[in-house]
Amino acid sequence: MARMNLLQAVNNALTIAMEQDERVMVFGEDVGHFGGVFRATSHLQEKFGKPRCFNTPLTEQGIIGFANGLAAQGAVPVAEIQFGDYIFPAFDQIVNETAKFRYRSGGQFSCGTLTIRTPYGGGIAGGHYHSQSPEAFFAHCPGLKIVIPRDPYQAKGLLLASIRDDNPVLFMEPKRLYRASVADVPEDDFELPLGKADLVQEGRDITLVGWGAQVEILQKAAQMSLQDGISCEVIDLRSILPWDRLMVAESVMKTGRLLINHEAPLTGGFASEIAAAIQEQCFLYLEAPIARVCGLDTPYPLAHEKEYMPDEYKTYEAIKRTMTY
């Protein structure tokens, strides 16, 4: 065990992946000598050489296009997009290419070895081009996996699993936790399962579902609710695609209530999919409408960031509303 922050955990996972499989290559804007603007790829070029860890020109569509070809060739690319907000120039390469490569070729070729890492989310005074949470844009795209860790331990285990999984994975890192979240992480190689949610806290009265940095918000809200005698079950979804409907449904059948929280705008966010699926599966168990506590349907604002965020207070209020419906 070692104390690591989330960045160190990512760096550690990348180091292990590169040590164990020489086909693993790490690249993106500024990831080489400099080690990335957040330093997630620090020392990788030094350790593994420039051919395996390198800067690319400044073109996200090129980075993912290049990565798709590299993956199809049989290498194991781990491509970095410097901010989640800048992943959209690569949208076509991801949605029309990465995700459909295997299907369209009848399984002859695939981008299964590709992992795309990108920091996402708000809370860092970044305004609308350094704060977005774009997971829902990709969640509508069959063929991709989407994985989001909530802490350093999860980050290491999930990233190693993502790199080794034979499907393309979009690995989104909650950047406001990069240095803020510190935990004990095993120094050895280990993996955590993709597609499986994690039961963070058991409870009886209401199920709270979130991912990434918002899991902490759910835990705080659960704590606040305790004082009102409300017992919350907290689930970290971890994988957005495919997602663990079974665990959420089982929990809701027990608690009878569900709240989902995400930073992205409400409309068309991934909470809508969870709500739609669970109201179908748990219809007779639900004692109140499924609540969504999300960002507003606006671009991510700067001056009003605090007001915009689906924080623990909003979550707590929604829990109470749901309990007293």
Binding site: P57, G65, G69, A72, Q73, N167
Partner: protein
């Protein structure tokens, strides 16, 4: 840290110089004249009789296939087709200069390259009828071929996406330490996409052994080249990226062969990209969905018909004593029969069973897709007449 100086190679001037035409001429390589003789001063690339005849046969075969499949589309037997009439020399001449280990990433009008590699008539047909013998499992429209065994990447409709992918693929080949390269075909229209820019620039900076092969055939559907770009074709861009560049007459199969051979040599030896611009003309309609009479003249087409690459090659083979008119006629007739027979055969083969609909989305079928499939199967069982392609085989 070593000091860098990004101005090291820049010279000074003291008057405002507007560079209007900053290129040295990029000339077009021509070896064969229309009558099959060589241009004065030109020499033919080293081609054995076998290879030369294979090149001709492949070009002729593709023309037969194109004719036959356009007819099949008109008869409603397939939904779509896309011919390369007039441009056969570009794909066939280039692929003939490569090794079989080299990866081909094509746009869609390069069926000649695939045929040269050995794709059989039956394989062409299985793809076009989307039947269960197609290794791509009938998942894409006709002409979106792909065959891993022949190192031919499955074609994707979104234009230019294969260009940065080719850079990445070639980088992977280099890292794997083998001498194989990637050839990446695309049209002058596709070269307007952002992916073109990304792909060429990355290949140049990251030293990827890839031959970018642009077919400049004057049109992107109805859009003429002059509404596509204002510079000196696509070749001039290569210079801007610091990529070695060759322009070639795309209707001259010997020139295409020679250019590609040299490009491949450079790519392998120097581990770098090379750009080839092949100048040609899309004599065919863009596809069976198109009618070019709406945007260009017969006259213009006729001028290009006179530059037929197949006839030119026949003249040359003849001058080498490698062409036998009657044998060739026999071969043509055989090929026509073969195409016809394979078409009838493939037409009868069913599409894949319904289970296939959820395969290959992921490496294995996840639980939610299994559930969707089960629901679909019981639905099909309830309405077998609505889903005749699959209902007979639902268990």
């Amino acid at each position: 840290m070593q000091d860098r100086n990004h101005l090291a190679r820049v010279k000074a001037t003291h008057q405002v110089e507007v560079i209007e035409n900053g290129l040295i001429d990029i000339p077009m390589l021509q070896i064969l004249q229309s009558d099959g003789t060589l241009h004065p001063g030109a020499s033919a690339p080293p081609l054995s009789q076998d290879v030369a005849v294979k090149i001709l046969h492949t070009m002729q075969y593709i023309r037969i296939l194109d004719e036959r499949m356009i007819a099949a589309q008109r008869q409603g037997r397939i939904s779509f087709y896309l011919a390369c009439t007039g441009e056969e020399a570009a794909a066939v001449g280039s692929v003939a200069a490569l090794s079989d280990q080299d990866m081909i990433m094509s746009q869609y009008r390069e069926q000649g390259a695939l045929a040269y590699r050995g794709y059989s008539t039956a394989q062409f047909m299985n793809q076009m009828f989307s039947n269960q013998l197609d290794p791509n499992k009938g998942r894409q429209m006709p002409i979106h071929y792909g065959d891993k065994a022949l190192n031919f990447m499955t074609i994707s409709s979104p234009l230019a996406t294969q260009i940065p992918q080719a850079a990445g693929y070639a980088y992977g080949q280099k890292m794997a330490g083998n001498d194989a390269i990637t050839i990446c075909y695309f049209g002058e229209g596709a070269a307007s996409e952002g992916d073109f820019h990304a792909g060429l620039n990355m290949a140049a900076v990251l030293n990827c052994p890839v031959v970018f092969f642009c077919r400049n055939n004057g049109y992107a559907i109805s859009t003429p080249a002059e509404e596509q770009f204002a510079g000196d074709g696509i070749a001039s861009r290569g210079i801007g990226y610091g990529i070695k560049t060759i322009r070639v007459d795309g209707n001259d199969v010997l020139a295409v062969y020679a250019a590609t051979q040299e490009a491949r040599r450079i790519a392998v030896e120097q581990r770098c990209p090379v750009l080839i611009e092949a100048m040609s003309y899309r004599l065919a309609a863009h596809s069976t969905s198109d009618d070019p009479s709406g945007y260009r003249s017969r006259d213009e087409e006729d001028k290009w018909r006179a530059k037929d690459p197949v006839a030119r090659m026949i003249h040359w083979l003849d001058s080498q004593g490698w062409f036998d008119e009657s044998q060739n006629s026999k071969w043509l007739e055989q090929s026509r029969q073969e195409v016809l027979a394979a078409l009838k055969e493939a037409e009868k083969v069913p599409v894949n069973p319904i289970e296939d609909i959820v395969e290959d989305v992921y490496d294995s079928v996840p639980w939610h897709l299994s559930a969707q499939l089960e629901q679909l199967k019981s639905h099909i069982k309830k309405y077998p007449e609505v889903y005749p392609k699959t209902s007979g085989r639902v268990k």
